[in-house]
Symmetry: C2
Subunit: 323 residues, 2 copies
């Protein structure tokens, strides 16, 4: 049985190339897109080949990529380069808090330059240290998720939480807990059907796929007793943004008194959900299935990519420790 | 502009053949399946080529079909034939109340036989009269739906209500009401994307397709101010069964204070929702898209076909008059 899902760490740098797992092809293929520069990094984000945590890895790694490509730059030129890369990344998609990440890198470069240090060495060291720190904290959160799942639980999840739930399921299995999972299809992109079902299964979990429409009946019939979902952005007041469909699951969990646990990364930068701009994605994506058009091109669709969920629906946060 | 949607009357008898609109092919093709006998009638129902009201038409018309095929039967043989046809229809699918319809026909035949009347003539006359009565009452309900839609309304619907909402939309348009419609995709079968969107568009309505996951956000953002859905079975206490996903829309409508209107056919035969058996359809249907398999055959799915919605979520019933 595997212990680490490919979705847990879906992008890694090898020499001058960033290998990014193409999540749109999973589970049919495990294929990595090669990203060589900032333009290709923005493309892989815009095309949603990588999502959520994968985007985070791409953003951080892109600085290293661009550094490797231009070994001749001096400190000031490196700072300028970092600012340009940060700007391009920040404007690639509205929902993910890219600027929270990129501003840290800009800050490091600025500090190193001001202190007369080697900008290149400092930034590379800090980015790598940051990535390793995140890795350890995510593994900690996997353990916390497992601790929150009890013997006999039946857990509903939505969209995909990048390996963490699947790895928690593997821990539960080692601990001989009898746990069932239900995962939604997660239209329009089917992340649940394609990613979550697959990785839970890979980890040996007992998982059942349901339509996004089946949640009320599942809860009314007491077939699930816990909801665990991820979050793409967190607010100071506990509101959070996550894949479209999360809001209604939160309302239903509240109505049927099913505890809803949200995997968070606490942040004080956004005050409340009202301050999160919701990304309206192109309607054509609603009308495609695995990249092929399935409805008439004359169909008018509306596709808000994310929900902003008010905090009062959340029973418990399972947070990544913030140092 | 068309005034009657093909979905409003999706099955009609012509000589010895019942022509049943294959709703699985709409909107790509308007094709009618030829049904010649009870076995073909059961098949067309089981394969869900016709739904809800179409099933009702198929059930009634199948008695006429079988009568036409066997002109030599006497009164007692006809009653026996009717009982056999009723039995086969009653056991074709659990959710639709076939026995409520078939028992009426058995009753007519029985009464005619007891009274020494011409069983064949009586049953044919009554079935035809019944169908015409239903047609008039449905047209009445279309007018009632239109009267419940106000200028400026933005109406969310789910699944498909067999022509009635689309025809009401046409009336609203004639009355110069400015109305927007949102229809859900309605996974797993996509009745909303395939049937409802198409027929609302045919009637000249302003309609937008949304994923089933987008309802909470639509309501939270006040983009819809009314929900109108159909019902497949109605209970004496107001509970009703309808396509999976209706229950969660009802909970959300309640949470966001959006009035929910349900098209009903009042019945005292079922006391409450607890008495409705919910059909669990084959999981393979969840894993297909337009008849082609899209997920691995090893995926375990659960596909409850219908929701049973408690009456307290319903703001108003728009009923078919019962005489």
């Amino acid at each position: 049985m595997k212990k680490e899902s490919p979705l847990f760490w879906p992008a890694y740098l090898k020499g001058d190339i960033l290998f990014v797992l193409d999540e749109t092809l999973v589970p049919k293929q495990l294929k990595y897109v090669k990203v060589r520069n900032i333009d290709e990094a923005v493309a892989v984000i815009c095309e949603m080949k990588t999502r959520a945590f994968g985007q985070f890895l791409v953003v951080l790694s892109t600085f290293l990529l661009e550094f490797n490509r231009q070994p001749q730059l001096n400190g000031e030129e490196l700072l300028e380069k970092i600012r340009n890369v940060a700007h391009a990344l920040n404007h690639s998609r509205p929902t993910f808090p890219f600027s929270e990440v990129t501003s840290v890198v800009v800050h490091w470069a600025h500090g190193a330059l001001d202190a007369g240090q080697d900008v290149r060495a400092i930034v590379i060291k800090n980015v790598n240290g940051y990535l390793q720190g995140i890795r350890h904290r995510r593994l900690d959160r996997v353990a916390k998720i497992a601790a929150n799942i009890k013997d006999g639980d039946s857990v509903l999840t939505h969209c995909n939480v990048s390996g963490e739930l699947a790895m928690a399921a593997a821990i539960c299995r080692e601990q001989k807990k009898d746990v069932q999972f239900y995962c939604t299809e997660t239209r329009p992109y089917f992340q649940g059907a394609k990613l979550t079902y697959w990785e839970l299964k890979q980890m040996g979990a007992d998982v059942t796929l349901v339509a996004d429409n089946a949640i009320a009946t599942l809860m009314a019939d007491k077939m699930v007793n816990k909801v665990i979902v991820g979050s793409d952005r967190n607010c100071a007041n506990g509101d959070f943004a996550n894949k479209i469909g999360t809001y209604q699951i939160a309302v239903l969990a509240n109505e049927f008194k099913v505890p809803m646990l949200v995997l968070t990364q606490p942040s004080q930068k956004i005050k409340s959900g009202a301050d999160i701009p919701v990304e309206i994605r192109d309607e054509s994506e609603l009308l495609q299935f695995n990249g092929r058009k399935v409805f008439s091109s004359k169909v008018k669709g509306l596709y808000p990519g994310f929900d902003v969920v008010p905090h009062h629906y959340v029973r418990k946060e399972i947070a990544i420790d913030v140092h």
